[in-house]
Point group: C2
Chain length 411, copies 2
């Protein structure tokens, strides 16, 4: 049996049965920037979503939660440039968007997923969206250019569109998963704190689809931190068209389910890393793996504490092997551990270097450390030497550019 | 009865019975920077301390915890330039420092408080400290110049020394409290995350002194955040000489205790604000008050969540009235609240402006908002309209300078 998961191009339009589009509707002043995206399946799909845990959630999050509750959906519409959060008429406008798209495409309102990203507290100019729907639908297409347009349209301060797809075999059938996502600011590991739209042509029922998404998000999106802020708007949605004609997965167990979950994990890991690497102002992707800890939950807390520390992030920006800040961040993670057992190591494509043994300083070749930390992908390896569980978290360095971007985001 | 608390000069040497000194011992390369401080009481004092909650705590924190456990101490020695944390011989060296000072001053080792601040993981050159003790003791003096020297010697990336003192009446006697502190980096509200040394000539027994310090720290130092990092080294210590000859306070209750606690609260509030205002790279002091919430603990969590948000901090740096980030930070504070009841207001010496009513956008004069947010002391007022409890937290904006300082701290 072929269990390989092969990366392929095509984003959300890679799986069979999905069209996409992305246009400039006019929510942004800059006419060269797309601001409205649409993904439409050829048939009604099994669907699942994970949403922000913020008590203040945007109107589209509320509307989408209701629409996806039955486990089915067929289209995703998403605007950038305005979060449709904290305004009196947000729910009404999110519903108006669904209604207009429903009428135009002949899809039930309840099968439409609506999402927004951008500034909080500005009234959504919904008339711009509604009047752009005909053109948005007109542009719908299969193929990678369409996914690329949609991936562009959901960007905010992202510096590049983020698309992933893979191909694998499920019960003898070729199956694909595709995805687009955006991240950049307000990325925090308490939830799926960004926008991620995933498509697949796998046949899988809503219940196992939901469980696969939930469990994969916990190890990927929830292990990313850019700045510790959990957004009001974020969601990860998956639609499964079943058009690969595999024998449908009906429960969250068994070989097919595990194969599907492994492929979804790979796609979501790639998205998580891409979001971290493109964090606002980021110059480096940081990956912290905590190994040999008592349990996985604790290992996750330790890894996230390191990734979130502003002092670690600025040290990495400066390529400064100031490992004391790492052990310090482990110390306030809120879980038990013995500092006098911890070994720390930095790795990158330039090599690796031990910087701390049993919680204490060892002699470090600072030149070598500088060289390793000057690469754009840094691994921080933490060996707790007290158990067998491990966890990985992703983040980015903290640069001047983060301050510049966020000091004047609205202007 | 005169209940006024009057601010006075003099720092830790303001209260009767305290001498101080601060010299350049040689821990820092820059000879114009002091790096060793000493505070000595004329008699054995009632003493209390609050320490970092970090699981990784520096050797001097461990030694001091033991020395203060009996509720008495007489001298405080503190070096900057080296944290004496995460090194194999840290405890031994902290004990050697106490031993040398004990022999030189004729004070019991167990009555000596030892503290360090600086880089983690570098072996402490304890021989430099030991050989500097004679000069450090020689320089001991009463009077404000001595406090100023000590306040200078404990600085790391602080831009200015921090000293406070006040005078009030306790049972007909004039009583004083004095303090020096340092903050700047690794300031997080989980504990007394900085160094604060407080002296008083009040007569107060160890038990009520400990309770007063504990309760005041919870509302002051623990409500400050610069960057969310809890240091390995931080402590707040108070020594009470009893030389004001008031009738000693023997329990954490009664009029005298409340008067003493109020004065200590004022001193610690001033220190907390000074630490926030001098946060690494800070250009503005931020004060967030959450009002009319169900309970105080929840109000504290909400206020701290706002103060800690990197997106709020950068918006304040940019004088951008992006209040959506404030309501977003309230939303992930981890406590229940109704976003659709929240009113938000910005205040400064340039005026005040409402920016959000009942969780929703209102029309805002952006020019006026910019003017208000361009001042160096910004009040963020959050009215939850659901209860009667309130809490205040302090922080600072996040600037380019924070990144510069921390990108290359060790060089």
């Amino acid at each position: 049996m072929d269990t390989a998961i092969k990366e392929i191009p095509g984003g959300v339009t890679a799986p069979a049965g999905f069209r996409a589009s992305g246009i400039h509707a006019g929510l942004r002043k800059n006419k060269s920037r797309r601001d409205l995206a649409l993904i439409v399946a050829d048939c009604r799909c099994a669907a699942a979503g994970v949403f922000t845990t913020n008590k203040v959630y945007a109107a589209p999050v509320g509307v989408t939660r209701e629409h996806i509750a039955d486990g089915y959906a067929q289209a995703i519409i998403c605007n950038s440039g305005n979060a449709n959060a904290c305004t009196v008429d947000g729910f009404e406008k999110a519903n108006l968007t669904c209604k207009a798209l429903s009428e135009h495409l002949g899809i039930k309102e309840e099968d439409i997923i609506v999402a927004s990203t951008g500034v909080i507290g500005l009234p959504l100019p919904v008339e711009i969206i509604i009047s752009a729907i005909p053109e948005l639908a007109e542009q719908l297409a299969y193929g990678e250019m369409a996914s690329y347009a949609a991936a562009n349209a959901i960007m905010t301060t992202d510096t590049r569109p983020k698309e992933f797809a893979c191909e694998f075999t499920l019960g003898g059938k070729k199956v694909k998963i595709g995805a687009i996502c955006k991240g950049s600011g307000m990325i925090e590991p308490n939830m799926a704190t960004m926008l991620g739209f995933i498509t697949t042509d796998a046949g899988i029922e809503p219940a196992p689809l939901r469980e696969a998404l939930r469990s994969v998000v916990a190890d990927t999106f929830n292990m990313v931190s850019v700045d510790g802020d959990t957004s009001t708007n974020d969601m990860v949605i998956i639609l499964a068209s079943g058009m690969a004609n595999n024998a449908a997965i009906t429960a969250p167990e068994g070989e097919d389910y595990e194969t599907f979950r492994a492929a979804l994990l790979q796609i979501c890991t790639n998205m998580a890393k891409a979001i971290a690497a493109d964090g606002e102002g980021a110059t480096k992707l940081l990956e912290c793996t905590v190994r040999n800890y008592y349990d996985k939950e604790g290992a996750k807390k330790l890894a996230k504490s390191v990734i979130k520390s502003p002092l670690v992030k600025t040290a990495m920006f400066g390529a400064d092997a100031n490992w004391g800040r790492i052990i310090c961040a482990l110390g306030y993670a809120g879980v038990e551990f013995d500092p006098y057992k911890v070994d720390l190591k930095f790795k990158s494509k330039a090599g690796e270097i031990d910087v701390c043994k049993n919680g204490c300083a060892i002699e470090v070749d600072e030149e070598k450390a500088k060289e390793i930390l000057s690469c754009d992908y840094i691994y921080i390896d933490v060996d707790c030497k007290c158990g067998k569980a491990s966890a990985t978290a992703w983040g980015c360095d903290l640069s001047y550019e983060y301050v510049r971007i966020n000091g004047d985001y609205r202007s």
